[in-house]
Symmetry: C2
Subunit: 317 residues, 2 copies
DNA sequence: CGGCCGCATTTGAACGGTCAAATCGCTCAT
DNA sequence: ATGAGCGATTTGACCGTTCAAATGCGGCCG
C-alpha cells in the first residue's frame, strides 16, 4: 500500500496525498475529503522508513534502560508515562542499553549516526554523568529527568525535592515531632541533594536541630522501608513514637505495613515536560515540578491540600 | 556520511562497501580490509531508514506496555532482559501503548502497516487475550511470554509453574508441613493455572489434601505479601508455624520481613527464547523453562540444588 | 589462441516517501 | 485581449541503501 495507489484511487497525484497528510490546509476541501476516503478504504499508512529517509527524522526517542534493573521501582510507571507523552507527539520510544560511563556513549553516538533516533531522554543520572556533556558537545538533542549535577548542560526537569521535604518537615513538626533526621544516599550521589537542602532549611526555620549528626543520608522509599523495619525491630511504634517518610510513592510505599508516607512524583507532567524540552534550546533552565505529599500511617501528616490521601496500604480492606 | 563517501575513500564502488557489511565473504580479503579501514576512519554507520526502506525490515520489535503500570514488579527486569536479547540480534525494542482488548489492535496493525516494527513480543496476557489470534490471522510475527490460553496460536515461552510449584510443595512437606494451601488469582485469570496443577498433583502424590477448600487462588509475590501480613497479624510465626511462598522473586520478595521464598524466573533465557521464537513457525509448541526456587526465611525449604539461596532480605546485614 | 568459467566488483534500478520548482486553471487589473 | 497573481495540483529529483543483473578479468581447457 503506497501513496501512489491511494493517489490513483482518489484520482490525484502522489504529492496531493502527501499534502493531505502533512499539510491539509494546502488541499482543496473537496479533494481532501476524496483522498481521505481513499486512505480510509485502503487502510493506507505511510511508510515510516521512507518518510524518515527523506525528512531525516527517525520519529523515535531513545531511552537507555538503567544498568541495574529492579533498583528503581519507579521506572515502570515512568516509562509508561514517557511512552504516552512521546506518542502524543507522534513519536515512539526506542529502548536500548549501554555500558556505564564514557564508554557507553558509543552506543548513543551510533544510534544517532544510524539515524535510528532523533533525541534521547536521560534518567537515572549519576554523579559526573558523562552523558549531558557528551551529547551536548555533539549537538545531539536530549532532555534529562532530574538529578544531574548543576553545571551540566541541556534542558532538564525534576521534582522540587526541597519544597516537598520542607513540607514533610513542617508536617512532622505539626504532629509534635521535634527530632527530625534525614537519611539519604551516600555523599557522592547527586540525587536528593535538594531534598537535604529542603530538610535543613525547614528545620532551621522551625528552630530544630539539623546538624550533621542528624543526617544519615533515606530519601527514597527503598531506604525508608529499611528504616521502618529497624524502628519496628526496636519495639517502637511507627507513626506514633517514630514517624517515617519516604520519597517516591512506589508500590513499596503502600505494600509495607504501616503504609509509608511519601512524596508522589507528578509523572505524567514530568514526561510531558521532557518531551517538550526535547525541542527547547540547550540553555533552558531546569524545570521544577511540585511533588505531592501522600499521607499514610507511617507519618500521618496533614498537608492541607485536598486529594492527597494515598491508596491504602495493601491488604487492609 | 554515506556509503558513497566510504566507497570513494576506499577506492571501490558503493556496493562493495555494502557487501563488506552484509556479506563479507563475497569480498576479497584485501579489499575488505581497505574498506573496513575507511569505515573505521570515517566512523560510518549505515542509515537505518534507508536500509529499512530497501529491505522492508524495520529492525524493531514492538512491545506494548501493560496498561496498569506498577502492578508488575517483574516488568522492569523483564524489559531489561528483552532489550538485551533483542540487541543481540541487531534489533531494538520499540515501546508503545494501546487500549485494552480488541480495539487496541488497531495500534498493532498500524505499526506493522507503517513498517515501524517487524514483530511483537507479548506479555501480560489476559484471559481471552485477542492479540495472538488477531496477529496470527494477519500473518504478523510475534512471540508471547507465558500465560496465554492453551488454544491460542503462536509461539510462546513460559516458566514451568507446575514443576516449580510441585517442588515447593515437596520442600514444604520436607519441612514438616502437612496442610498446604494454594492462593491464586481469581478463577478467570489464565496465569497460574499450571501452578495450581503442580500444587495439586504434588499434594496428591504426597497424600495431602488438595480439595477446593484448600484453594484460595496467591501465586505471585504481591499476593504472598498479603498472606504473609495476615499470618503476622494473627500472631503466628512466619516460617515456623506457617510457611509462605511466592512466585516471581520480585524486589518485594526480599523487601518484606521475613524474606519471601519464591520461584525466580530465568529472565535472560526467557528473553533470549522469545527473540528466537520470533523466527519460529506459528505452530511451534510452547517452550517451558524451569523456574529456580529461592529459599528465604518465610519458608526455609532446601531444594537440593546448589546456588539457589536468594539475596538476603533488605536491611539485614 | 579463442571461448568459457568463476570470482570480484560495478552499474542501474528500485524501495516509498517529501521537497522544491513547475504547471495548470482562474480571476482580475491593465 | 494580455498578462500578472494566486491557489491547487503535478512533475522531477533525491534521501541512502540493497537487489539483481552486468561487467571486467584471470586462468584453464580445447
Amino acid at each position: 500500500m503506497t501513496v501512489r495507489q491511494v493517489a490513483e484511487r482518489a484520482g490525484v497525484s502522489r504529492q496531493t496525498v502527501s499534502n493531505v497528510l502533512n499539510a491539509p490546509e494546502r488541499v482543496d476541501p473537496a479533494t481532501r475529503a476524496r483522498v481521505q476516503a481513499a486512505i480510509d478504504v485502503l487502510g493506507y499508512r505511510p511508510n515510516r522508513s521512507a518518510r524518515s529517509l527523506k525528512t531525516r527524522k527517525a520519529g523515535l526517542i531513545g531511552y537507555c534502560l538503567a544498568r541495574r534493573p529492579g533498583l528503581n521501582p519507579f521506572m515502570d510507571v515512568f516509562l509508561h508515562a514517557l511512552c504516552g507523552a512521546v506518542e502524543n507527539a507522534d513519536h515512539h520510544v526506542l529502548l536500548f542499553s549501554a555500558p556505564d560511563g564514557e564508554q557507553g556513549m558509543g552506543v548513543y553516538g551510533d544510534l544517532v549516526a544510524q539515524q535510528a533516533v532523533d533525541a534521547f531522554v536521560l534518567s537515572d543520572t549519576v554523579t559526573d554523568d558523562p552523558r549531558p556533556r557528551w551529547l551536548n558537545e555533539r549537538g545531539i538533542r536530549f532532555a534529562s529527568f532530574g538529578r544531574t549535577g548543576d553545571g551540566e548542560p541541556g534542558p532538564r526537569v525534576d521534582v522540587d525535592g526541597a519544597t516537598a521535604c520542607a513540607e514533610l518537615v513542617a508536617g512532622l513538626f505539626a504532629l509534635g515531632h521535634r527530632d527530625i533526621a534525614f537519611i539519604g544516599w551516600s555523599n557522592g550521589v547527586v540525587a536528593g541533594a535538594d531534598r537535604l537542602d529542603g530538610w535543613r532549611s525547614e528545620c532551621d526555620h522551625l528552630g530544630l536541630s539539623a546538624g550533621e549528626d542528624m543526617v544519615v543520608r533515606v530519601v527514597s522509599d527503598l531506604l525508608a522501608v529499611g528504616a521502618l523495619r529497624e524502628v519496628v525491630h526496636r519495639g517502637l511504634k511507627v507513626g506514633e513514637d517514630v514517624a517515617v517518610t519516604g520519597f517516591d510513592d512506589s508500590v513499596l510505599a503502600c505494600a509495607v505495613q504501616p503504609g509509608l508516607t511519601t512524596v508522589r512524583q507528578p509523572i505524567a507532567e514530568i514526561a510531558a515536560t521532557l518531551v517538550q524540552l526535547l525541542q527547547a534550546p540547550v540553555d533552558t533552565p531546569a524545570v521544577l515540578l511540585p511533588g505531592e505529599i501522600v499521607s499514610r500511617r507511617s507519618a500521618p501528616v496533614t498537608t492541607g491540600l485536598a486529594g492527597s490521601r494515598g491508596q491504602p496500604a495493601l491488604g487492609t480492606r
